[in-house]
């Protein structure tokens, strides 16, 4: 398969401008900035079927079209490089290996909404990646690719790289905007959506790194070409990170629609469950999506529709594989710890719910649970869902509900303090 995003990953020096340009770098951006209208760009991307790769999967062209380009206010593009979903490690490779691809994608995003100042918001832990990105940006600026009259197109565009401080919630688009404005990263209530009231109260688009990185290829090809990779409704390719109990953990670019079991087992991707063990479960799209049993994995393809049909989500593409020895209570406890630690603290159900659930998980896991704890967990999860400003509460509630539904007996056993067989 031809690679859309990861094509240059194995090319030495692809993080330098020289090598990147040698492989056709910045040709797409040059063409878009100098001769494409935003309308043409939006239509092209709409036709390609590209959907936001951050997790929600919202069609990118449509997102751009919500921006009122006639507004007298400045329009902003924020590239979301706050990749923090457990199990997901795709954007970091783009930043590390092909930072110019992201810069080029950013230029294209900017043109789509008539933006002249774009921000790349990186998670604070991306210390090395930020340095690489900043170096690449400096190269691009020196070469006249970013700045006034970018690429000789007559279009002025400034790009600022901004570092977060290590909060998961700043990956939520309005949390990101708050943080970028210098405030505590707490999601805003929507509506109004960022397209109307975003960064500094101006129309704003927040695009994921992977989304932006896919754009140069899409521009250089007919929209149908990108669509050909995937299924009818989920077009294109997707970076998937696979981690956990597999032989070949890593990040791979796959055509959407690939069977999940193939992704786990193929020697081209995950290489199968390690140590010759059997698959017990798999979280396909990052820690916040519902877990799949081994039987469900067999039925699921990696695309938005198939995931939804099997009660889970493609999310950000963080595939976590668990073998037959995995302790589900302990696994959920780890997730509980993450989400209770990362809850911003704004909304009551999330602030208290994530923490309370984590405490109960801890005591069950530590053998100090009570039989009624399992139902209590389920109740907490149900009381959290859909009652908060952002989906962080749901991000723990969904795993709790799916773990408890699919692996209930393990929880009951531990809660009743029965010795493991």
């Amino acid at each position: 398969m031809e690679k859309v995003i990861s094509a240059l990953w194995s090319v030495p020096g692809a993080n330098t401008l020289e090598v990147y340009k040698k492989h056709g770098g910045y040709e797409a951006a040059k063409e878009v900035l100098s001769s494409w209208t935003p309308e043409k760009l939006i239509e092209h991307v709409k036709a390609s079927g590209l959907r936001g790769r951050g997790g929600a999967g919202f069609p990118t062209g449509m997102k751009w079209s919500f921006i009122n380009r006639g507004s007298p206010k400045p329009k902003y593009v924020c590239i979301n490089a706050d990749e923090s979903e457990p199990g997901t490690a795709k954007d970091r490779y783009i930043l590390e290996l092909t930072p110019h691809l992201l810069i080029e994608g950013t230029l294209i995003c900017a043109k789509a909404i008539d933006c002249h100042h774009a921000f790349i918001y990186c998670r604070g832990e991306f210390y090395d990646q930020i340095a690489i990105l900043k170096k690449a940006l400096a190269e691009a600026k020196a070469a006249g690719i970013v700045g006034k009259n970018a690429l000789g197109s007559g279009y002025d565009i400034q790009i600022t790289v901004h570092s977060g401080f290590g909060a998961y919630i700043c990956g939520e688009e309005t949390g990101l905007i708050e943080s970028l404005e210098g405030k505590k990263g707490q999601p805003r209530i929507k509506p109004p959506f960022p397209a109307v009231v975003g960064l500094y109260n101006c129309p704003t688009v927040v695009n994921n790194v992977e989304t932006a990185a896919a754009l140069p290829w899409i521009i250089k090809h007919a929209p149908e070409e990108y669509k050909k990779f995937g299924t009818e409704k989920s077009g294109g390719t997707k970076l998937l990170s696979i981690s956990g109990h597999v032989n070949k953990p890593g990040t791979y670019e796959i055509p959407l629609g690939l069977p999940l079991s193939e992704f786990i087992n193929s020697p081209n991707y995950g290489g199968g469950v390690w140590k010759g063990r059997k698959l017990k479960a798999c979280i396909p799209g990052g820690s916040s999506v519902p877990i799949l049993t081994a039987a469900e994995v067999e039925k699921t393809n990696i695309d938005y529709e198939s995931c939804a049909a099997n009660g889970t989500m493609l999310g950000s593409g963080g595939c976590i594989v668990m073998d037959e020895t995995t302790d589900m209570v302990h696994s959920l406890r780890i997730l509980g710890h993450f989400y209770s630690h990362e809850s911003c603290g704004q909304c009551t159900p999330c602030r208290t719910g994530t923490n309370w659930a984590h405490r109960i998980l801890c005591r069950i896991d530590d053998g100090e649970g009570r039989p009624e704890d399992v139902d209590e967990l389920l109740k907490i999860a149900n009381n959290m869902v859909g009652r908060t400003i952002c989906p962080l509460a749901d991000a723990l509630a969904m795993p709790i509900k799916s773990f408890l539904t699919k692996f209930r007996s393990e929880f009951d056993k531990k809660a009743r303090r029965e010795k493991a067989a």
Binding site: S343, G345, T348, R351, T352, G353, N355, N383, G386, R387
Partner: protein, 538 residues
């Protein structure tokens, strides 16, 4: 004007209003913590959730703007909403320390109220598993924060930002260990007491009020702050004969929901040392001695009559006070006008009680609550009295309330002249709640009451007449000013309005004073009324 339906009731709302605002204006209550009508909505407590037709999820009514044709079901009409509210209550109480027995908020706590209303289920969270957080964090001398009780509604943070004008507080850390903290140093705002009022739970308490009184023992009387000429509407909270605190009372035209800290603490004057508790009379000696009311009245009357006979009515003058009610000043004027016609009834100059600049919000430079009384009742300038004493025309003086013998930067000449001239008087009567310098040189002291001990009217800096009601009785033998003036007047045989109660007295006054024409006690209501404009009178 969007028309919306709440619980089946069709309501015409204003563009831009939130659902909770409209509901409350129409008598439909919606439980809430973080929403406050005086602050921007935040939508974080999730208590005010309502069902909105066509919306996939429950919506926070504080953040949901009305739209034409919107159909809303609140807790009164939706089991789904009630369930959600019960869940929120459960979440809020998971880590709450349940220390109501030692919490000052008990009795006026939204957690308690809403627990009874929405939750009412036994706790299944063992106390020892609750998160421990810092107790007793001093935000300032006045405000104490209890992290464990805090529900992080951020009303206090928003108050500082939006009303206090300084980003003094913030929410720190994340998740369940979040807490409210100072951005730096300690709270500076002169309005910081308000954050204790708006804290819906016991997280913020006022160190002045802490541990002094259980709120359910106290009664409240509607009053007006006497700390400056703004006339912030307040509640005087008292039990038996002691006032424990002032709290702001909502009045959109004056103070909204707020008051300043200086005003809040001004209740302390009520029980301060140096109150005049009994009438005093100088009988031969240098100092005035304790006496009975009859004796103080009759001796003063004798002297007034003697001086009247010897030097004419002009020999006896009086001075009103901006600390006394409109009614007291009015009675003083009536008494002297009817008995000693031609003698001046004066009023201190406007600038006398000015201190500092005031601010752009509530605090004014004038530290007296009723400075306009003099001009409204047509009283003379204080200099007329001073000149009269200087020229030895005035031999006796009846002073209402004030101390003229301390230096006040607003009008330094007053103390200077008073010091020189008062000793020349044959008889100085001081009707006052305090034994201040003027009272100490007076021949007779009529022990009076402060405004919490009486009922009457003040006119504030914006010419708004506002009623205040008695909370407690004057201490010991002290009497309400109105009663003193009426009793003394009756003894003198003056023609005073025949008014049994404050309402009748005000109405009689309004009937006689042009500046108050058209007003009545009942019409003033709880929020007061602007006086007829000066232009209209002329």
């Amino acid at each position: 004007m969007p028309k919306i339906t709440i619980d089946g009731k069709e309501i015409e709302a204003r563009e831009g209003q939130s659902v909770i605002e409209v509901a409350h204006q129409n008598g439909i209550s919606i439980g809430h913590y973080c929403w406050h009508p005086g602050l921007s909505p935040e939508g974080n407590c999730r208590m005010c959730l309502v069902e909105v037709e066509k919306a996939p999820k429950l919506m926070p009514s504080c953040m949901t703007q009305v739209a034409e044709g919107m159909v809303v079901r609140t807790e009164h009409a939706s089991q789904k909403v009630r369930d959600a509210q019960k869940d929120v209550m459960e979440f809020l109480l998971v880590d709450h320390p349940i220390d109501c027995p030692i919490c000052d908020q008990a009795g006026e706590c939204k957690l308690q109220d809403y627990y009874m209303k929405y939750d009412k289920q036994p706790s299944h969270v063992p106390l020892e598993t609750k998160i421990k957080k810092e107790k007793r964090v001093h935000f300032s001398d006045q405000v104490v924060y209890d992290t464990e009780r805090c529900i992080l509604c951020t009303r206090c943070v928003r108050f500082c930002r939006e009303v206090g004008g300084q980003e003094e507080l913030g929410m720190f850390n994340r998740g369940a260990i979040s807490f409210i903290g100072l951005q730096s140093g300690e709270l500076q705002s002169p309005y910081q007491g308000n954050i204790v009022d708006i804290c819906p739970v016991g997280a913020l308490t006022n160190s002045d009020f802490r541990f002094r009184k259980r709120v359910w023992f106290m009664s409240s009387s509607k009053s007006v702050c006497a700390g400056c000429s703004r006339g912030c509407n307040i509640l005087t909270d008292y039990d038996k004969e002691e006032v424990f605190r002032y709290r702001p009372r909502e009045n959109p035209d004056v103070n909204k929901w707020w008051m300043c800290d200086e005003g809040r603490m001004s209740y302390k004057h009520i029980h301060a040392e140096g109150r005049a508790l009994v009438p005093l009379l100088r009988q031969g000696g240098e100092a005035a001695e304790k006496t009975g009311w009859d004796k103080a009245f009759s001796r003063t009357m004798e002297i007034f009559q003697l001086l009247h006979k010897r030097h004419g009515a002009e020999a006896i003058a009086a001075v009103g006070s901006p600390f006394a009610s409109l009614e007291e000043n009015f009675l003083l004027k009536k008494l002297f006008n009817s008995y000693f016609p031609g003698s001046p009834v004066a009023f201190p100059p406007e600038k006398l009680y000015h201190q500092g600049q005031g601010d752009k919000f509530l605090i004014t430079a004038d530290k007296s609550p009723n400075a306009l009384a003099g001009s409204l009742l047509g009283l003379s300038a204080l200099d007329a009295v001073f000149d009269g004493i200087e020229s030895e025309k005035i031999k006796a003086l009846y002073v209402l309330g004030d101390d003229f013998l301390i230096d006040r930067p607003g009008a330094p000449k007053v103390a200077e002249r008073a010091e020189k001239l008062f000793p020349k008087l044959s008889w100085l009567v001081c009707q006052t709640p305090y034994l201040h310098k003027t009272a100490r040189i007076a021949h007779a002291v009529f022990a009076g009451a402060v405004h919490a001990e009486t009922t009457g009217t003040f006119v504030n800096v914006d010419r708004r007449a506002q009623r205040f009601f008695q909370a407690i009785r004057p201490p010991a033998q002290a009497r309400e000013g109105i009663k003193i003036l009426r009793d003394f007047g009756t003894l003198m045989g003056a023609e005073l309005p025949d008014a049994e109660n404050p309402a009748a007295l005000f109405d009689a006054m309004a009937a006689q004073e042009k500046s108050l024409s058209g007003l009545s006690w009942n019409a003033l209501g709880d929020r007061g009324m602007p006086l007829p404009s000066q232009g209209a009178q002329k």
